[in-house]
Amino acid sequence: MRCMRMMVLAFSLLVLLASGAFANFVHKDVPDDSNAIAFDQRLLLLQAHEEYIWPDAIYSQQQINAQQSNMIKDGWIAHNLSFTLKALPREDNNFVLPLLNRGLLNYSTGNYDKAYRYLLNAQMSMEDLKQKSMTLAGERAKIFKGEHYERAMVSFYLGLMLYEKGDYENARAMFSRTLECDRETVPDQKRLDKLAKQYVRNIDGGSEQEFINIYTTLGNDNRLAYYMLARTYKKLDQHRDSEISMDHADDWQDVPAFVKEESCGVFVDRADSFDIRPPSGNPYAAKERLEKDNLVVLIQMGFAPAKQASGWEGRKDILAPREYPERKAVLYIDGERVGEAYPLFNLMHQAAPTVRTTKDTAQTGKAAGKFAVGIFAAVVDQFIGTDLQGVVQDKWSVAADTRRWGSLPNEFKLISAQVEPGLHTVTVLFYDQDGNPLPHYEQTHYFIPAKKDKETFLVLRSLRDKCNTVRDFYGSKMQSYNAKKNEIVFNAGDLAGIQVGQDLDIIAFDLGDEKLNQQFMKEGYVQPGFTKITFLKQRFDQQYKQSTVTRVGVARISNLTKSKAVCTLVEGNLDPKKTYFITNYNLPMPVIKDENNYDTLQKGI
């Protein structure tokens, strides 16, 4: 009997191996709900449900209502608005933000028709709408018009879509508009002179003219727009203009340290780590590459810097770089390494030289006004026994405007190549700052056409699990298993939407190392009431890279209460000493073993 069991087990293992369970999925096995198939559709659902796009956190209405400090409350509302997809009426001061986010979402999912309309609407509103007057309240009470770098990006995306459409005249106009927005980096003469004097005091041997030169370059260093402008001029047969633009696509100027300290405050070190000087000599900004390369890949990476209220009464906004792990990208075509993508553009670098003058003065004035009114209210309170000072403190927020275009990427990397005409498989491998591979970010795109006489323009965005053929899921740790009764109990609240009679997969989880397995049991759970799972994802990026999920059985729910689900084991044998999990994710195959293409491709270097 025992021998028979062994034979059945060995046969099952052979069948599993033969069916490719331990190898990469073949495409026909990729489930239709996998990220590799349905990621974009899920993005579109976010828009349909008017939710948020790529936020690092969202504050619930209860959290906002319960917050006592108006300054923090304002910050949270501004944060939510930065990622919102909820359409707002034109009378709403924030109506531009969903237009921007929807524009980028539709661009990412390839609907250029809608993306163009959303972004054009946003651009016209940001550039043409006039503020009626100054407000005594927080800056958020004003119509959102974005910073110069955000306005530049709106024009850039519009230009990119026009370029891809083949409307080169209008694309040129949009890229030129991008450069005009960038020139708004340069402050007015009075402020520039003042900063130049500060520069001379800070830098040994520095001159005022040197500082003015620095700012002249900083106000004309949108390398992305220049690169695209060079391509556009070439299409328009304006070769001299193309060459001039191409020269600028290699310009770089470090932001003076004291300016960066002013715009980034306590986040200046983090800002430095996200605004790294690129290697000199952009290999793709060359006439020959422009003429011969027929595949151009632009890779958008990370997330644009956030803003935080800082200083007295939160009157000043400072840039706070948003963390993201992917920092390097390597391109492969049909499994052959093409090269590392060049860091062409960095939004943190564009934002850092922003100098605020009028706004900061007005904000300081408001904070001082609030302080004075507070003192007056305290005096009044002494006489008539009211709490006017508390009302002033709680209800009058002079907090800085921290709204922003939250879905923007932080970096654009560029790579172009001369490729044989035909259909190709394009793979991009991503690495962190130290060169460690990030399998969850890996992207493979099939059937990318290359033509002899026409370039293919591919714009990608690095997003976690975009090309993962299996989905992430939740599981409930089995609380008990009674072998005699054939009964399994788990916490019903762990799995959403389960019903009596439903069959659920029982899984075993193994990280190939007992210590890691123990660590997972200790740390892999989801904090109750804490929906942010970013840190759990990071563990899968860093520590849990060799996971194996094995379906060991099936449990049918026989009884369900709010806290407890009782199931009957209908398939498989369980070892009472082992830890199992129950999940309502239907595993697409009996064994899901972590597989990436890094080893295969890197060996080919």
Binding site: H27, A38, G110, P439, T444, Y446, K477, V526, P528
Partner: protein
């Protein structure tokens, strides 16, 4: 407070702290997050449908006539059909009329790509009425090419 009373209070406090700590631990969450990763295969899958962005696949006939070609009709495409022995009695106008009669959109008036997300979408291979060529590098592009319908 005498010494004995103090020890009672101290003992009580410590015991309640330990009990509280243990009961707190006992209520640890049982919900776990799993995030396995299986990459897409480097070998491309079989190309099922050809469309304009990819280029016509010889030997295929229009989808609406039982084939797998969803390329936008042009004179050049019609010549390719004829060369492969299909639609011999069709000219371009008749072929375009076949699409129009079925309410299929071949291109939008403004010339923009909708990636089959317009009101006529999804793509005809997924039961919609839009046959605008999908946008390169998107999932819809790949889904139309392989005929895989996403489930969300």
């Amino acid at each position: 407070m005498d010494r004995r009373k103090f020890l009672y209070v101290l003992g009580g406090t410590l015991t309640s702290t330990i009990v509280g700590f243990i009961s707190g631990c006992a209520k640890k969450s049982t919900q776990y997050y799993f995030n396995p990763y299986v990459a897409k295969n480097l070998d491309s899958p079989e190309l099922v449908h050809c469309f304009t962005a990819i280029g016509h696949k010889r030997g295929t006939k229009p989808f609406i006539l039982g084939g797998t070609c969803v390329c936008t009709p042009t004179e050049e495409l019609l010549k390719a059909y004829h060369a492969d022995g299909f639609l011999r009695n069709y000219n371009l106008r008749r072929l375009v009329a076949e699409y129009e009669n079925r309410g299929i959109v071949l291109a939008h008036e403004n010339g923009w790509q909708c990636n089959n997300q317009c009101k006529q979408g999804p793509h005809i291979v997924f039961g919609g009425s839009c046959m605008v060529s999908p946008t390169i590098g998107t999932q819809n592009f790949e889904n139309v090419a392989t005929g895989k319908m996403p489930r969300v």
